[in-house]
């Protein structure tokens, strides 16, 4: 699971109001290189919750992202920023660990890179 996906996932348990962001418990992170695409990064940027994203990156051991959401103009000019944004968003994978509901503490396991968001009967 990459941080792009983490940024799109919320706790889906009945009664939970926001459920976002899910806390990350890291057992194993892997990095897989993919080609950078500036258009994608520019288009996805407005949809990213920056605080959740930069916190998640730090939890995964990557500390190069600014804590505050940068001004969108950096997407046009700042190659160094684009490279870091790309790396954190699409190249870091939570391979083993868990996602933790911020309201209930319920853990959603991540095994072999796959988050399991299935609920038990009493949680639906």
């Amino acid at each position: 699971m990459r941080l792009l996906t983490h940024n799109m996932l919320s706790s889906n348990i009945k009664g939970v109001t926001k459920g976002f962001p899910l806390k990350i418990e890291v057992e194993k992170v892997v990095e897989k290189q993919v080609e950078i695409n500036h258009d994608f990064l520019r288009n996805i940027f407005p949809k990213i919750d920056w605080k959740a994203f930069s916190d998640a990156a730090r939890t995964m051991g990557y500390v190069e992202l600014p804590e505050q959401a940068p001004d969108p103009s950096v997407l046009e000019s700042d190659l160094d920023f684009l490279t870091k944004f790309h790396h954190a968003l699409l190249e870091l994978h939570l391979e083993e660990g868990a996602l933790v509901c911020p309201e209930t503490g319920r853990k959603f396991p991540v095994n072999k890179g796959i988050p399991n968001m299935l609920l038990h009967e009493d949680e639906v």
Partner: protein, 259 residues
């Protein structure tokens, strides 16, 4: 010109995972026939609900290829074996999608709302007793409950929520699912529709229907269809007449082939 799609010999399998079948092939054919339009759409986020063996999502990634311009792909399945098989199928083809083991898109619905540009679904659509729906094992791959609509009717509202304004949905249906009624229902939500591929086998008559948001159709809360132009209604009418013209009733008895 032919484009790359998944190779059957590289598609992984598991006894509890749906193998690529006529419906999977028809869905991939529908996407292939619309490939140029898909490239023009320039989807940013693409998603499959119920990826099974991974044949469809892998084919989609391969046919868009380099020209996908950085598009990202997400696939879900309720069956964890299917997720694993999809992962193997994608690896064998050198492509990557984010995989999530979940019910339809549970967990993604809030943050992904209005962001999915392309959604493809080959749902469990076979009419079965209601209690066979969502059971453990391979049955949940096809068991669709009454008129085969149980899971479809859960997926449609989620699809509406996830699709972006310019988003497209491709869905497999069977005649028994009453596709023209599905189209009318989607029209009330502002979606136009058309049949992209129609295929009859001995067992079933499949339609791959494409839905897209049409601004000329005003979604109406009173369930009254209002449209400013006659075109969208015409589209649904044409879907209906095509279905009546082309389809026939087959016995959708998949069980006999799997026992």
């Amino acid at each position: 010109m032919s484009y790359k799609i998944a190779q059957i010999r590289l598609v992984s399998s598991h006894p509890e995972v749906y193998e690529p079948c006529d419906d999977s092939f028809a869905l991939v054919d529908a996407l292939l026939s619309d490939r140029n339009n898909l490239l023009e759409l320039k989807p940013m986020l693409c998603m499959e609900v119920g990826c099974g063996s991974g044949y469809v999502i892998t084919s989609l990634m391969l046919m868009l290829g380099e020209e996908a311009n950085g598009a990202q792909f997400i696939a879900t399945d309720i069956n964890h074996h299917a997720i694993k098989v999809t992962q193997e199928t994608m690896e064998a083809h050198g492509v990557y999608a984010e995989l999530i083991n979940t019910d339809i898109a549970s967990g993604l619905e809030n943050r992904l709302a209005g962001s999915v540009d392309l959604l493809v679904v080959n749902p469990p659509y076979v009419p079965t007793p209601e209690d066979e729906v969502g059971r453990e094992g391979i049955a949940s791959a096809w068991a669709g409950g009454e008129n085969g609509r149980s899971v479809i009717d859960k997926i449609l509202p989620v699809a509406e929520k996830l699709l972006s304004k310019r988003g497209w949905l491709y869905m497999v249906t069977l005649t028994a699912n009453n596709p023209s009624q599905i189209c009318r229902q989607m029209m009330k939500k502002g979606y136009a529709s058309k049949i992209v591929v129609q295929r009859s086998t001995v067992e079933e008559s499949l339609h791959i229907i494409k839905f897209w948001k049409d601004n000329d159709i005003e979604a109406d809360t009173n369930d009254v269809i209002t449209n400013s132009k006659a075109v969208p209604l015409g589209i649904v009418d044409s879907v209906r007449s095509q279905i009546q013209r082309l389809s026939f009733w087959g016995s959708c008895d998949i069980n006999t082939t799997t026992n």
